[in-house]
Amino acid sequence: MNKYGSHFVKLIGQSLTSLAIVYSGVSFAQQNNTLEACYVEGLADRLMCGSVSQPLSKKSPSENIDIHFAVIPAIKQLHPKEAVLAFAGGPGQSAIEVASIFARNLKYARENRDIILVDQRGTGKSKLLQCDTGTIEEQFAFNDHALSFVTFTKEETSVCKAQLEVDLSHFTTVAAASDFEAVRLALGYEKLHLYGASYGTRIAQEYLRQYPSSVLSATLDGVVPMQQSLVAIGDAIDSALNEVFLDCMADKACLEQYPTLADDYQALLLQLKNEPITVTVRHPRTHKEITLVITESKLRGAVRMALYGHTSRSLIPLVIDSAKKGNYHPLVGLLGNEQTVGSIAMGMHSAITCGEDWPVLTQSDRQKYGQSYFGKMMIESLDMVCPIWQVEPVEHDFYKPVKTNIPILLLSGGLDPATPPSWADLAMVSFSNAKHLVSPSATHGVASQTCANKVIGQFINTLAFSELTTDCLDKDNRKQYFMNINGPVANHSNEHKK
């Protein structure tokens, strides 16, 4: 009997040891052994992070950069050979930093598939190309209306260029696409579902063009067509703001509270155009007294950024009305809030805009886009900085619409101040198997405000448009405007007095 006993123990001992080794190999996600657990702000889940080394340029493979990525593991892995690859916007946003947003947008897709987030070259941890953007005090006090503005911008750009010490031509969309493919190969996925938001839709389309055999489907949320320069954005901003004015006029309480909103705004802009207003305000965080120079572009910029989300959008009438009456607190709040959104890698942003959006501008483009304030401003600023950056223009084929029969879902928001539904229509001219869904009341990034995350989950599972339930996209998710600094309720005490 002892003989039996010892034999069993030996057998069990041996097999357990081999199990342990094999097992630890399997449990560390996929075949790659360089992954390690990591976390990102706003997401409690354990992610797996890693990096691949990629040549900086295809011409000189000696110099390398590390492309960092994170994998949000599937809840219940049913498709180990597939994953969803998410592309961040900006251009210049780090996909890993906004993991919590992707986790929400791809919540249903994640139930059965891993989500891959890659910091595109020049962003986040993949050789970040960022320069000092100045403190709130500096930005508040800065007068972009002054004559010295052009010289100042050029100087700043030169300083930034000297700091970065890199040829931005290696950071264009075309150059970045191969990094994503390298990550796919390193992680061992056979096929990918793409999800891109905002600028992310451009890199998603470029990836699809370069590596069609790696792609099962693509979801483009807030679509940038390959044929179009980002400079065309001006019209979308104007019409999105106009929607706010129309909304307010259509709402009895809002109209009563802000009867001359659109006129007030124009009057205010005219006043600032003639002469910026300099006031002493409180720092939004430290409460120290600081100087604020209110210029036309600062007011327009603050209002523009507020258009991106329904929450901040609900403050726009209050901000305009108060500023017109000489109360700048709400404007200070918006300007201060803008800072926290930030974290766009300006160097990488310039690589894209100067390499892709600027060189292609024709004289008629300049005239057309220059009609809107923001179009004009963007052209002017690109004309200032691009000659300094000296980014090699991308090849002309880049601007051709992507031709494909891979299923593609396009999502647009009716109130989008950046990528309006018409852009998606332009993008899909050569997609032979695509569907464009518009959520009338969504702003920029449909999946983060509506039930589109559910639709995306269905689409990735079925790859068929007929089976999507999209009614919920029609749900009106606009928010009521703030009627005073306390909330979206008109002051009833006035009524009582009547």
Binding site: V9, L19, V26, R46, K76, L315, G333, I485, N486, G487
Partner: protein, 378 residues
């Protein structure tokens, strides 16, 4: 000696397989338990999770259209039909006035929080209201020129070390418990039949009259029973693999995935447990005077492994119990499902002690067979 045991083992296996109904009865558990368990889990998951579109009654919604729209954005809305949950949200009549003047506007949740079916929905409503609170508060601060991030004095970030595979918690315990118990259930009938049954059929005395030691007889019986236990184990593992794959775990944000590695691992650590369980059941059956008595004792004895396993499942005194046989193996099984490191020392020690018990019970049984009182059930 070895050859004799082998011959005897063969005899016992043939003997057992003759009573096909009894063998099948033992294996029914292995096939049925995971399926029943998964059906129960599916129903339980449905009850634990809040319905996607949560219908509640909202009183006085006109006073707070903004709040009502906000709730609707999170799929919580008012309804009068049958689908409505017994949760009431009462909006104060002075809501609009208070909101407009910057006072806290009153909303009241009325619900029975002891109702397990409601708890998830009530928490969801509370959560959405808390979000609304911070959203409006943030906008109020911005309107006053203040950065709302100052409300977060400390930026609390949680790093959850769990993986989707390890969040199963209690479910994992119950699943592994059902697998371990298969080792006992599949062999129960057989153990009684081959010991107390053989005695009642008077063939035990005949067997003992052969030139064999009682240890050899017991060993052959125990290994034959253990073989059936192992068949039950493999069966329960295979059925579980498919059944658990059907349960929509992802609704609660985790998954229970029994991969091939896990099945092999369980088969391996199940072997000593099968031997121990067989020897224990045989020993207890010999102690009884009759077949019926043996059935009662065996049922009683089964509480010991179930109890040990329950302590792991419900995490009672895990620090000590995790070293005990069965509890330790179950703990290791859970760790393997979770994808954590294998507690190798515990597995080896508990397997050794399990084998020790197997030796002990076998020895005790063979000693009993030397007594005429036991052999003839006197």
């Amino acid at each position: 000696m070895m050859r004799l045991v082998q011959v005897l083992y063969k005899k016992e296996m043939i003997d057992a397989s003759r009573d096909k109904r009894s063998v099948m009865a033992g294996l029914y558990y292995a096939i049925g338990a995971p399926i029943v368990m998964c059906l129960l889990f599916t129903i339980l998951l449905k009850q634990l999770s809040s319905p996607e579109a949560l219908k509640i009654s909202i009183e006085n919604p006109d006073a707070a259209p903004n709040l009502v729209a906000y709730l609707d954005g999170f799929d919580i809305s008012h309804s009068d039909d049958d689908s409505v949950k017994p949760i009431k949200l009462v909006i104060d009549l002075k809501y609009a006035e208070d909101m407009s003047e910057g006072r806290s506007a009153l909303v009241t949740i009325i619900a029975d929080k002891s109702d397990n079916k409601l708890i998830k929905s009530v928490r969801r409503l509370e959560g959405v209201l808390a979000r609304y609170n911070s959203e409006v508060a943030g906008l109020r601060l911005i309107s006053r020129g203040i950065d709302p991030s100052i409300m977060r004095a400390v930026n609390v970030q949680t790093q959850d070390q769990a993986t989707p595979d390890s969040k199963g918690g209690m479910f994992l315990g119950i699943a592994t418990l059902s697998i371990i118990i298969a080792l006992f259930y599949s062999a129960m009938n057989l153990a009684i039949d081959t010991s107390a049954g053989e005695r009642e059929r008077n063939s035990l005395a005949l067997l003992l009259s052969h030139p064999l030691s009682s240890t050899q007889i017991v060993l052959a019986k125990v290994t034959a029973i253990a073989s059936y236990s192992m068949i039950g184990l493999v069966l329960v593992l295979i059925v579980s693999k498919f059944a658990y794959g059907m349960v929509p775990w992802e609704q609660l944000g985790f998954s229970i995935n029994l991969d091939l590695m896990f099945i092999l691992f369980c088969t391996l650590i199940g072997l000593p447990i099968a031997l121990m369980s067989a020897s224990l059941l045989v020993f207890v059956s010999f102690m009884a005077k009759s077949f019926k008595e043996a059935q009662s004792y065996v049922a009683f004895v089964l509480f010991v492994p179930i109890g040990l396993s329950m302590m792991t499942t419900y995490d009672i005194a895990t620090d000590y119990v995790q070293w005990a046989p069965i509890a330790a193996q179950q703990y290791a099984m859970i760790e393997v499902i979770k994808g954590n490191e294998l507690p190798l020392l515990q597995v080896i020690l508990s397997s050794l002690s399990t084998l020790g018990l197997f030796a002990l019970f076998t020895m005790l049984s063979s000693k009993m067979l030397k007594s005429e009182k036991v052999v003839f059930g006197l």
